[in-house]
């Protein structure tokens, strides 16, 4: 289908698109290009498409809209671009434009589900996680992926906070809905207001998130500007704690894109890991050059098969680089994608860092009981 509507590009976007020198260096880091070898899936290919749309050489077609969806917004191209282009911002803006001119994508339905059920999976019932206190200084926010897809991991995270005697409470949370803005739609203001009200009722002064994406939304999105709480990712919150557990196993860490490149949080998880795992090794691609697991930017929702293949590639790369027995991360989406990707014969164990800590405490208690 070809529509004759032309996109409007303001000066800032014209500049951003023209700035790409087509050097193609983004090929080296794009997780989707790595999989497909098709230039249209790479940042440089998408920017060329938009350049032609901008110059009126190419109509804004449904295929262009589809091409824009094939991006995990991992930002690895951004940090490696010699010309200073931020392709994921350009792609996100293009997704909004494409929706505006009538090319709705499958996330429209997700938006409706989120609005109706308050979570991205359309679940009517939410597990009761307990931990309801009238008042507490800390509030823990789980986010959809953890609460509905990685329940065991969340359970362990809660147990860790209990072991560490953190005074925290939880609320009837609904989806922060920030991700909708990455895929062409708007944040759900009603949900944001509901979250703010529920959170403020607790009188907490610090909001702790386990999900790096929720962290970014609460911290930076204008719809949450009246939140009035300090927002911390759980790794920031835990970095100064003393942990009385240790592991001799070889441990490595995967930087989630939303926590690392998007939020600049690289050191805190490592500070925690170094306290408990002296045998820690970095993957070759790490910190701001860590390869994406393939889950972000709506990519897992839109292209589930490709997404899990990317996770498989990243996981194999980590195993090959490090020979680690334990892979840690702290993002429910990365965790979920890696666990789905892991092959039976791969011996590596994959945990969220907080989950792994709780597990170590569990083993210690067990050891003490046996000794007694």
């Amino acid at each position: 289908m070809t529509m004759s509507i032309q996109l409007q590009f303001d000066e800032k976007r014209r500049k951003a698109i023209t700035q790409c020198s087509r050097c193609g260096f983004c090929r080296a880091v794009c997780p989707i290009f790595d999989l497909t070898k098709r230039p249209i899936t790479n940042a440089h290919g998408k920017i060329i498409l938009l350049k032609e749309v901008m110059e009126g050489k190419l109509p804004a077609t449904e295929e262009v809209a589809k091409a824009m969806l094939r991006c995990t917004a991992c930002m690895n191209c951004t940090v490696n671009c010699p010309s200073g282009v931020d392709p994921q911002e350009i792609v996100k803006a293009a997704r909004r434009d494409m929706v505006d001119i009538g090319f709705d994508n499958l996330f429209k339905a997700m938006g409706e589900v989120v609005e109706k059920y308050g979570n991205i999976y359309g679940k009517e019932k939410r597990r009761d996680w307990g931990h309801r206190k009238e008042r507490a200084p800390y509030l823990l926010f789980l986010g959809c992926v953890g609460a509905y897809r990685e329940e065991e991991s969340v359970k362990e995270t809660l147990r860790l906070l209990d072991i560490l005697k953190v005074e925290y409470t939880m609320v009837d949370e609904v989806c922060c809905s920030g991700v909708l803005e990455d895929v062409g739609y708007k944040i759900k203001e009603d949900l944001a207001r509901r979250n703010i009200q529920e959170i403020q009722k607790t009188g907490a002064n610090t909001l702790i998130t386990t999900c790096p994406y929720c962290y970014r939304v609460f911290k930076d999105h204008p719809s949450y500007k009246d939140l009035g709480l300090e927002v911390k990712h759980i790794t920031q919150f835990l970095k100064d704690f003393d942990f009385h557990v240790k592991t001799d196993k070889k441990v490595t860490y995967h930087d989630p894109c939303d926590l690392g490149r998007h939020a600049g949080i690289y050191d805190e998880p490592r500070q925690i890991i170094l306290k408990i795992a002296p045998n820690f090794v970095e993957p070759r691609r790490t910190r701001d050059n860590a390869m994406c697991c393939g889950a972000g930017g709506g990519f897992r929702g839109a292209f589930a098969k490709e997404s899990v293949k990317i996770a498989r590639n990243r996981l194999s790369q980590i195993i090959e680089d490090t020979g680690a027995e334990i892979l840690l991360t702290e993002c429910p989406s990365c965790l979920h994608n890696f666990r789905n990707a892991k092959r039976q014969k791969q011996k590596i164990e994959i945990y969220n860092l907080t989950e792994f800590l709780a597990k170590l405490y569990g083993e210690r208690t067990l050891g003490e009981k046996e000794a007694a």
Partner: protein, 455 residues
């Protein structure tokens, strides 16, 4: 055509969808033209079948690696089928005992070097695009890089090739040996041929032991002539540094104004490196180089031997391209090369041309082998600037030739420089080149329209 191509490579490795073809209409130059289709073959046999078919129906085929070319070399100016070699990316053999590596054409340069590094070896040519450039592309453009003066270019490492010939045969040529004069050196004929003579599917490369130590120095000069003297005195001193880079005033100014890198107000900066098997060897070389740098009235000279200091000294040079790419909407990056002693004349001449046309040209590059990169900055949406930029480019080519230089040291001719071939090559040579092309590719299907071979 569509049916036949799908039959050969399979539905998943074929496209003729407009949007997928758009990125294949470009490289990193300003040339644009749509192909009719693109394929991602996975074996040499598939490529053989494609080329046979293309030759029968006289359809242009354009082999493509990472598409980082700066000359329009992979832009399908007459349409046709893009053969993207990215999926042929297996390292077939690393033979340390015989000092060679055999790879499929789509292997990425840095991926090969990561594998070789495990054995303490390296494939030395290091184009700036080595994180993405493919070995096949490196061979087809005879890619060079920063270490050309000491370690040469891709040509010096190609031992053998497997090539699909335009007439539809699969040929192995060259050897697995360090020496070979058995017959014509056909392998080298395909090196730098920019895909006009056949599709390179496999490459056997000579590999080198990795140097264990390196020491870096930077010197800045208030007078270009002094920097020029320092360069050719070094290159004739008996020591061949592994790196000998120069950046001109405009480049330095742009870096100073657009980054937080502190640089003196100088006419030129030289960055040099000596490498070797032992520290003693490196220090002995560096002593000679430093003596020369200091004797030629520098503003300052700095040295580094640990990794952190080294990276610091490299910072300005590494940021040159990026900084210049950010300050302008568009640019042309050329690669004229002159005999080493003519570098100061080339730099001064380029500045004169730049001023004459009111177009900013920043020049940096590999002084040790005379290969410079004038980066011409302009706005592609301003027709007047486009016209002036073309004139600047033409005058720079003429200047380089007048200094006994060449149009291209490492990027190739492609489309951008095709019109200037006769500046450098006389009618006799042009005629022989065209006859070679015709002999190998009678139907002119291989990357047609390039390097003034079929005008």
């Amino acid at each position: 055509m569509i049916k036949k191509l799908i039959e050969i490579v399979g539905q998943d490795n074929f496209t003729d969808q407009l949007e997928e073809l758009v990125p294949y209409s470009y490289d990193a130059s300003m040339n644009v033209h749509r192909p009719d289709a693109a394929v991602w073959p996975e074996t040499a046999e598939q490529i053989l079948a494609i080329v046979k078919f293309a030759n029968e129906y006289k359809i242009p085929v354009i082999p493509r690696g990472a598409g980082t070319s700066l000359s329009g070399g992979v832009v399908p100016i007459r349409g046709g089928v893009i053969i993207d070699l990215s999926k042929m990316n297996r390292i077939l053999e690393v033979s340390i005992e015989n000092r060679y590596a055999r790879v499929e054409a789509g292997v990425v340069c840095d991926d090969l070097n990561r594998e070789l590094a495990k054995h303490g070896f390296v494939f030395p040519p290091d184009p700036a695009s080595s994180t993405v450039s493919t070995i096949g592309g490196n061979v087809a453009t005879n890619a060079g890089g920063i270490k050309g003066a000491k370690y040469g270019t891709t040509r010096d490492y190609v031992l053998g090739l497997q090539v699909v010939l335009p007439t539809g045969e699969l040929m192995r040529t060259g050897s697995y040996t360090m020496k070979c004069v058995s017959g014509y050196d056909l392998a080298k004929l395909f090196v730098g041929a920019e895909g006009t003579l056949g599709v390179i599917t496999e490459v056997t490369l000579k590999i080198n032991p990795l140097p264990r130590h390196a020491m870096t120095a930077v010197a800045t000069y208030a007078r270009l002539e002094d920097a020029g003297k320092a360069i050719f005195q070094t290159m004739t001193s008996g020591v061949i540094p592994s790196v000998m880079e120069i950046m001109d005033k405009v480049t330095l100014q742009s870096i100073r104004e657009n980054t937080d890198i502190a640089l003196p107000d100088a006419e030129a900066m030289i960055l040099t490196e000596a490498d070797g098997f032992t520290w003693e060897e490196v220090e002995a070389q560096m002593e000679v180089v430093l003596g020369i740098l200091k004797n030629n009235h520098p503003i300052e000279v700095k040295t580094a031997r640990d990794e952190k200091d080294r990276l610091n000294l490299w910072k300005a040079r590494k940021s040159a391209y990026a900084t210049l790419a950010r300050v302008s909407n568009s640019f042309v990056l050329d690669d004229v090369t002159v005999p080493i002693s003519r570098i100061p004349e080339l730099l001064v001449g380029i500045q004169g041309i730049s001023q004459k046309y009111g177009i900013v040209v920043a020049t940096f590059g590999h002084a040790g082998d005379g290969n410079l990169h004038p980066q011409i900055l302009y706005d592609e949406y301003d027709p007047d600037q486009v016209e002036r930029t073309e004139k600047v480019e033409e005058e720079i080519f003429k200047l380089a030739i007048s200094l006994k230089g060449t149009l291209s040291g490492e990027h190739g001719i492609g489309l951008s420089k095709a019109g200037y071939m006769t500046l450098e090559h006389d009618p006799v040579e042009m005629d022989l080149m065209r006859r070679v092309k015709k002999a190998l590719d009678p139907n002119n299907i291989m990357n047609p329209g390039k390097r003034a071979l079929d005008d």
